[in-house]
Symmetry: C2
DNA sequence: TTGTACGCGTTATCAG
DNA sequence: CTGATAACGCGTACAA
């Protein structure tokens, strides 16, 4: 930058200003500085800038898994908003481990990110301490937090699962199974099971624990869970797959075995993957506004960072049940 | 850090060393420093560290689109390797635009990332200049570059598409259509078309330009392209969908219309999505080692960054044709 | 093994 | 509108 200043015949301070607050620099200086910059091929050093100003243009994001197309929508939403404000994204993958999440949080804070987006709503004690003591704007997105660390932009896994289960009950299904993701260290999966149970009770249906399975993400596990449930419970008439692509695996298994959907068994899903409306039969599902969640998260974060807003915040972006041929 | 030093009764230099080269500090000092750190709740400032040492622990990644589960595998591979070496990932999304890629490159260089992974193998002149002048280790992964900017870890889109087309010809298909992604600003899609054409010529099949379509990514566009081709060319006996989930959309459309696959029309795909082996019929495809590409990219990048290796490099991780029921 | 002095490239502050 | 000066928090190089 000093080189640029010399070439332009001004001080480095004027160069710095020309870059950040062009209005405060004369037309003439700006012109010469622009020329010098392109002549030298100068590239600002934002590390130094952030160190000096104690502000960075980086936001951290921690997901349970990068390999999940659902999260991709959220990332895109965040990324779109940040880019238009000159901010950038640093992504970490906690692998569904709270300890790893904590490590990533320290790392991101050490990089002095100016905001944090977390998918988890459960954290280690030290993770919570780091965030609160560091007074760093944080948004949790994976579930509507009852007690947000700071801000929350999400939907309620409990309410969504309950609504879908009641929807199935209203359509006349009397013995409804649930296949969820493993609940260990996963508050979202836990809330989904709670919503399912609450709905069964409200609908006056029996809640046989044997009807509620857990399955790792994947097509194959969804198929296995379906077969297991159908063969063990002859009167089972519907299964709600509350995670990822489990429902797709189940539908494909039905195609292979010639099981009619929904007459032999109805199938419902969580999250409106594009695929679910193209597959035969099209699958009843819950639409979660993933992209919108990313967008809003980034927006509230930026408002906080730029001082346009302050204080806790809890935004429920809701969900929508989409009835199709599979139920 | 000075606070820590005071509390531990040592100089800040000793604290700095205790954090980075614990061996060079006495047992006693380390103990007291650890105590001071947890008492104060000290978090190192890596911005300052990187500025002083002129090294950063961040690697930049630029993808055409974050919303693409294929890239997710590559990201995961990169992320896994980086994490185990204490490095971290900064991700940008160029939206298939070369100009946007250039902007992201400047931004990442301004953040002083110590390495770059690019999916594109075409870049603007200024982008190339930035990378070469900045002497920053760079890996290109989206296609085997004939003239890599620096390093290349990939597979050949040309060879893969050619191999699959020849595979179809060997199985007896005589009129083979191609549906690729839009070739504008996309060197990978271009290479795939070239491979297809080369194979047709080599197999002595007619290369009717009307048989080679372009389609935006998506299930619906794949279905449309299939219908268009089949209805326009009664003698068409196979279609190769060289992109994304196009083939899945086509298979589902066949299910809906009752078109037998492969007897009425054979269908082949690019990239072994999990889905392709579960759908009915299971789809013949090319397996690209996406995760492995990410892993190796990060490895060669780290070798360069840590000085364990130098010089250009071009690693071809190949591909594999997987014959299933759809052809 | 430990400490001192200095510099990394930028921005904040205040004076001109 | 512009410039001088002092941080920002740490690492390098050398000295003790």
């Amino acid at each position: 930058m000093m080189d640029v200043a010399r070439h332009a015949g001004v001080s480095s301070m004027t160069v710095s200003r020309a870059l950040r607050e062009p209005d405060k620099v004369s037309e003439e200086s700006r012109r010469r500085i622009r020329a010098a910059i392109s002549e030298i091929g100068y590239l600002p050093n934002r590390l130094a800038g952030s160190l000096a100003s104690n502000r960075s243009s980086v936001v951290g994001l921690i997901l349970p898994s990068i390999q999940n197309s659902l999260f991709a929508n959220t990332i895109q939403g965040i990324s779109d908003v940040l880019r238009s404000s000159g901010f950038h994204l640093m992504i970490g993958d906690s692998g569904y481990s709270l300890a790893e999440e904590e490590a990533l949080i320290s790392m991101l804070l050490a990089q002095r990110v100016s905001g944090l987006v977390l998918h988890n709503t459960r954290h280690t004690a030290r993770a919570r301490w780091l965030i609160q003591e560091g007074r760093i704007p944080t948004v949790e997105t994976g579930n509507l937090a009852r007690q947000p660390l700071d801000m929350s932009v999400s939907y309620s896994n409990y309410a969504a699962t309950k609504a879908m289960t009641l929807h199935l009950a209203r359509r006349g299904y009397r013995m409804i199974g649930l296949v969820s993701l493993p609940t260990k260290d996963n508050d979202r999966a836990k809330q989904r099971r709670r919503g399912y149970c609450a709905a069964l009770e409200e609908a006056g249906l029996t809640a046989d624990p044997a009807l509620a399975l857990e399955a790792a993400p994947g097509l194959a596990t969804g198929a296995e869970a379906l077969v297991h449930l159908v063969e063990a419970h002859p009167k089972l008439d519907a299964v709600f797959f509350a995670g990822d692509v489990l429902a797709v695996g189940a539908i494909l298994e039905c195609q292979r075995r010639g099981w009619a959907v929904p007459s032999r068994v109805a199938i419902a899903s969580f999250d409106d993957l594009d695929l679910l409306q193209h597959i035969v039969p099209a699958v009843t599902t819950i639409r979660i506004p993933r992209y919108e969640i990313g967008r809003r998260s980034a927006e509230v974060l930026l408002d906080r960072i730029t001082g346009k807003a302050d204080g806790a915040l809890c935004i429920d972006l809701g969900f929508e049940i989409i009835q199709r041929q599979s139920t």
